[in-house]
Amino acid sequence: MSSVAVARPSNESAWVLPSRGRVGMFTLIAAESAVFTIFVVAYIYYIGKSLSGPTPKDLLELPIFSTVCLLSSSLTIHLAVRALRQGRVGVFGFWWFLTMALGAIFLVATGREWHHLIYEKGLTISTNLFGTTYYSLVGLHAFHVTVGLLAIALAMIFTLLGKVKPEHSERLDVFSLYWHFVDVVWVIVFTVVYVIGR
């Protein structure tokens, strides 16, 4: 079967469909949003329902510095992809490395916070409902940051090997959607856990 060759004045406009990468990534983000929604709902539902201490008010401090780092990494990844699209691979490498560093700082900060909570305050995932919901929600987000960081590190290695070319900007652009999503989720987690829930 070649084509349905029926003589009909075809419209001249080219046949353009949406980019596979973007549609696929947006669909994945929709699925991830649903997962996070359930965890956020559970967190909100269980605020103040723990039968024993400690409470969020006793333990949590606003993670301002790491939040600033993570949110600014959205800007740096945008600048990185834009530089690559313009063909400036060196500039891309600089911004990309900065993105990786900012993401890593965020993860380290989360790790330190958890270490503090577990070893100094004695809050674990099985202590009470607050512990269960807190570690699950923040941990789920940290897991997504980790996955993103692994991908960023992989692209960083390729950059250092000189394999990243301007034609890859489309793919990295699609990846940056994921990174922005992780940032947006952090805004919600921050609001729910550290502002509303405290």
């Binding site: 079967m1 070649s2 084509s3 060759a5 596979r20 559970a42 099985s126 409902l129």
Partner: protein, 557 residues
């Protein structure tokens, strides 16, 4: 029909050793092979789930029966439900979707072929995990094998205290793993349908099967993800000592119900919408008329998709919600009947005045129309919360949802099987055997599920392993179990037909039904690349245009 194929370097693919050919199936990323793998896997699971159902029905055939122990009965209904929903219905529909979508939208594969293979194998390993519980579920506790918490696994029954051993762990991991596969499939469906259509196929010219699978994909994204999240929480509770659903630490059992049914009700539409798609492809071809009301059909499907996200708590009327909750979920449940009714009218409108050919696929679709209507009517009854307080958790509910799943979904799946079998295998099935299958299964279905409503109204609760004589339930349970054997006979005829036709069936040719969608323009079975040159379409029925150049569809659309 023009059907040029490209001569590849391989002489005869069947000449290669069997090990190599099997290896091809394991490593394949081809949507057709993966589609067939999905379907074969589901058929195997259908037999296993059917055996479990049969064991339950034999146990209930007379009061005080001792065919199986109460413990085994609990495992059977849990495994039957979990298997049929997650490892039969979903994968068989994904299988048809995976096979048909790229062919029907005129492209060579899915958008992400490797993700496609990943999704299938995740689903397959999910099923393996579930059934491994028969061996590994004991754990160190001697606590019995196989999950026995029911297919919706209400908390706190799933906590360590009440479900020791590993059987519930296998259950939650199986659902988690297969859920990730389902989400991958949904991402693939949506991306393929939006980004891979052949030139000329605007959204308004897509076959309805593609449209409906697009809606299904969206529902899977929004429904299966919450279930995955809930399974993560249950795993945290069971493995890490969390308290999400631990009522002794302030956790809420009702929260699990909400999370489960936020998945559970859209899931019904995840299953039925692809079946609407089969009916929307089969009924026009065997009525020799284009589908009646295509835009309304699309609109109704999208409406069902949206409304189905807001009806979940009608599964929970008996829990005791506020009167506002009851009123809201009763109202939304009534509302969803409207677009569904529109679709039934559209199929009847398609048949009206058509030259109906009563071939096997059409017979199954007509059966579907009547049975799905009745299933919808009992659904409206149960959707009214006061009625539900009477009959919730009774056999009336069991009869209702089996009417949807067997009478609606399984019937159209059988119809789709006969309709596309010539395309997938290149051979025709035996029409005589197919009619035997239809009538045996129809009689068995009605014996079982029509009469199952009655003990429910007489007060027989679901999930009981036996019952007292003298409550008026005996005769109905006997009839229900007798129906099962007719269904088994029907399925046996189906399997014989399948095997016989694969080996001895007449060659089908490209287009045995004189159909109109693109998949019938290529060879049967289609070559690896589907189309030597990508087709260009001008209307919803490209093959009609090709066969009738003097009167093409695009003049009227």
């Amino acid at each position: 029909m023009a059907s040029d194929t490209i001569a590849l370097g391989i002489a005869d693919p069947d000449a290669r050793p069997i090990g190599e050919r099997l290896h091809d199936w394991v490593v394949t990323v081809d949507h057709k092979k993966l589609g067939i793998l999905y379907i074969l896997y589901s058929l195997l699971m259908l037999v296993i789930g059917g055996v479990e159902a049969t064991i339950m029905r034999i146990q209930l055939i007379v009061p005080h029966n001792h065919f199986v122990s109460p413990q085994v009965f609990n495992r059977m209904f849990t495994m039957h439900g979990t298997t049929m929903i997650f490892f039969v219905a979903m994968p068989i529909l994904f299988g048809f979707g995976t096979y048909l979508i790229p062919l029907m939208i005129g492209t060579r594969d899915m958008a992400f072929p490797r993700l496609n293979a990943f999704s299938f194998w995740m689903t397959a390993f999910g099923g393996l995990l579930l059934y491994f519980s028969f061996i590994g579920g004991n754990g160190l506790y001697g606590a019995g094998n196989a999950p026995d918490v029911g297919w919706f696994a209400y908390a706190p029954l799933t906590s360590r205290a009440f479900s020791p051993g590993h059987s519930t762990d296998f259950w939650t991991l199986a659902i988690l793993v297969s859920g990730i596969g389902s989400i991958g499939t949904a991402v693939n469906f949506i991306t393929t349908i939006l980004c891979m259509r052949c030139p000329g196929m605007t959204l308004g010219k897509m076959p309805l099967l593609a449209w409906l699978n697009l809606v299904t994909g969206g529902l899977v994204i929004l429904a299966v993800s919450p279930l995955t999240a809930a399974q993560i929480m249950l795993s945290i509770d069971r493995f890490l000592g969390g308290h999400f659903f631990d009522t002794q630490a302030g956790g809420a059992a009702v929260l699990w119900m909400h999370f489960f049914w936020i998945f559970g009700h859209p899931e019904v539409y995840v299953l039925i919408i692809p079946c609407f798609a089969f009916a929307s492809e089969i009924i026009p071809v065997f009525s020799r008329k284009p589908i009646f009301g295509y835009p309304v059909m699309v609109g109704a499907s999208v409406a069902i998709g949206f409304i189905s996200m807001s009806v979940w708590a009608h599964h929970m009327f008996t829990v005791g919600m506020s009167s506002y909750g009851n009123a809201f979920f009763t109202a939304t449940t009534m509302v969803i009947a409207v677009p569904t009714g529109i679709k039934i009218f559209n199929w009847i409108g398609t048949m009206w005045g058509g030259k109906i050919q009563f071939r096997a696929p059409m017979l199954f679709c007509i059966g579907f129309l009547f049975q799905f209507l009745i299933a919808g009517l009992t659904g409206i009854m149960l959707g009214a919360s006061p009625f539900n307080w009477q009959l919730g958790n009774s056999y009336f509910v069991v009869a209702h949802f089996h009417y949807v799943i067997v009478g609606g979904i399984l019937f159209t799946v059988f119809g789709a099987f006969y309709y596309w079998f010539p395309k997938m295998s290149g051979r025709m099935y035996s029409e005589a055997l197919a009619k035997w299958h239809f009538w045996l299964f129809l009689i068995g279905f009605h014996l079982t599920f029509d009469f199952m409503h009655i003990p429910g109204m007489l007060g027989m609760p679901r999930r009981i392993y036996t019952y007292e004589p003298g409550r008026g339930w005996e005769i109905w349970n006997l009839i229900v179990t007798i129906g099962v054997f007719f269904q088994i006979a029907g399925v046996l005829v189906f399997v014989v037909n399948l095997l016989w036709s694969l080996l001895k069936g007449e060659p089908a040719g490209n287009d045995p039904w004189d159909a109109w969608t693109l998949e019938w323009s290529t060879t049967s079975p289609p070559p690896d690349y589907n189309y030597a040159t990508i087709p260009v379409v001008e209307s919803r029925r490209p093959l009609w245009d090709l066969k009738h150049p003097e009167d093409p569809d695009w003049k009227y659309e």
